[in-house]
Symmetry: C2
Subunit: 446 residues, 2 copies
Amino acid sequence: MRAYVEDIQQHEQKYFEKLFALLRQESISADGTGIRECAELVADYMRKAGLQPEIIETNGHPVVYGERMIDEALPTILFYGHYDVQPPDPLDEWVSPPFEPSIRDGKLFARGVGDNKGQFLCHLLAFETMLRVDGELPCNVKMVVEGEEESGSPNLEPFVATHKEKLAADLVYTSDGPMHSSGAPFVLLGVRGMLYVEFTARGAKWDNHSGNKGNIAPNPAWDLVYLLNTMRDESGRVTIEGFYDDVLPVTEIERNQLRALPYDAEEVAETVGVEEIRFDGEEYYERLTLEPTCNIAGFHSGYGGPGSKTIIPKEAMLKMDFRLVANQDPVKIFEAICAHVKKHAPLVDVRHHGYMYPSRTSSEYPLVQAVIGAVETAYRQPPVLQPSLGGSLPDAVWTKTLGTPSVIVPYANSDEANHSPNENMNVDLFPKGILCTCSVLAKIAK
Amino acid sequence: MRAYVEDIQQHEQKYFEKLFALLRQESISADGTGIRECAELVADYMRKAGLQPEIIETNGHPVVYGERMIDEALPTILFYGHYDVQPPDPLDEWVSPPFEPSIRDGKLFARGVGDNKGQFLCHLLAFETMLRVDGELPCNVKMVVEGEEESGSPNLEPFVATHKEKLAADLVYTSDGPMHSSGAPFVLLGVRGMLYVEFTARGAKWDNHSGNKGNIAPNPAWDLVYLLNTMRDESGRVTIEGFYDDVLPVTEIERNQLRALPYDAEEVAETVGVEEIRFDGEEYYERLTLEPTCNIAGFHSGYGGPGSKTIIPKEAMLKMDFRLVANQDPVKIFEAICAHVKKHAPLVDVRHHGYMYPSRTSSEYPLVQAVIGAVETAYRQPPVLQPSLGGSLPDAVWTKTLGTPSVIVPYANSDEANHSPNENMNVDLFPKGILCTCSVLAKIAK
């Protein structure tokens, strides 16, 4: 490891220059700005890191794929990242321009620095360092850098399904998102899935006068209220038939992981924006990572302005998202929701706005154990193990479509402000990320 | 009656000119446009109709009051109307300008023609006709024409409370609103009251990410959904303790009135904007006039745009209106609602946006019986008797504050489009209204 550390130190200026050039290249998937140029830059970086790059077209923005196959007998690790970024608005809230990287107070500010350019670049620079230090990588590497993650990765699953053989690997390794808020390194073993459903109840053809038509015109807001009350009890347990059928029981290993996770109730309360959090650490992490949700994301009907308007609304609209845990299937859950609505509120219209499968990888896989050890070596601190992220990422593309274990090891600081103005990455975490990837490759090769 | 009919015919042109002049005088209570000038014009009309007028200041726009007291032994009838009108927007939907009266296809179009200038003016012109034909009115008359009805009559109740002696009468008579949709004359014996309540539930200080904080951050939309479900059962019956305590039982007389009301389920369905109305006439009118409501007028929380946004909303806001029937007390009902919320959702914030008392007058009062007969004489058709309006008017100002029976006899066509562009009154209903007031005065005097 010492040789890697020294090589990274020697080349730190060059490595930061590469990062700056990548950050200066706009690549906004939402409107396509700079996407093609950025894909070519990434392919160029792959070539310089010893990978054979290809720009592979999809129905949307292209995937940049690269590989360096040394020996089929060695394990193969597939790195996943994305070169696209969120739009930078609101521009006037940025202290320095979003596509002009700027260092202040130990932080590098730029759109995409943490999400995800400054993280996937660590892998490529680790390959450069290892090739220079060892003459060859210790195992086979493949790399997928897509250009649509900030638009929901609509073409990633078909891409993976089409290129299963090309992508065949023993482990998928993703560096994205923030490290644990305690500052500890973080190994994430899965994600919650997601199903977003919209319900529409219709009453009369127009809003009616609540006096002249009160008790006569139907009120669709009441219909949705009644429906909602058949979907969840007051304790928060979902009462849709079959909802919990496929939820995996929490294993003893997972429970130990939950208990071992750093927990500061006050800090959590501050992050959430509430006075107090009433859960202990184990319950907190179980609710957040191993339990599904049934969330009202939006409910809109009738008058919402100041004062009073006396109407019976003609329509009520409800948006819900369900975070799902392994092994719930969003397609089956959507069917269960449709059946539930058919039974309790047959006139309510239901449709979904997309879904994502949940994903979970066992920490007992030997390669996952190797990653955990490698991260500890790189950061000189044992990583925090979390069985799942509370949020959703297209991780099932790897565990379900490709059928490969997958771990997420974030390299960015917990206050990276991804998706927000003044996105940043702590300057010292960039060389640490490079070292971590070196450590992972070295450990996996053993 | 024949003499009145002839006099009205002879003076029809002059009477219409008076109406036109009144309609040309803008009088928008919302922004005060022309209010003072209109009040003066009404006072002038009162003087010409033989009344002693006064412009009485209030905390808002002035009341125009007039009276002609002939003999204390004779009955006194108090006429109520309002000289203010709704704003005319959207202006581009008017076929002819709102303050330039225009006759097309037997209808007179102008803002305020039905609501209420063309109706209260009938009373004044009836006095002119009777004074000319008989030399004197057959009974005492008083008249209150206020300037804030379209702004919710905020100063009417204090005005009446302050001037109880001045306003003392045996019956209050109001002509406002549309006649029955069947075209029949209409005698309304009361109104539903109203209480408008706003509920606010607050969760975290900001919207949280539904993945990263799902099952952790509180969701105030769910709080309001649970609260709503404690307030009304699925049959629509309100389950707030004490809500029905003061509701008067339906009398046999009222039930007979309900049964006698013209009812066309198809026409009602068309007016409401639904495929079908499943009530028979008796149930329809009972629900509409003698039963209180518990209506969701607006529910807003979280995301309402297209597609999906995965948040846990920080706030949820609910607006409800409760139409109340005799003898419910909106103040007591609001207290019951507050107690209910305190019990079921103590963190939800409750406030009201005003209320109006319900009002009901017995059809058995002799003067009310006289009005019913007089209306039949004028229109040559028995009037439709309805125990209450579905909507709310400040009628309790008369029955409760002043302590006087009150009837509402609308003189405008059912499609008068009050509050809308192209407000209108059927040309032939204007002289009929004048005749009806003559008939009422004549009958009451007996």
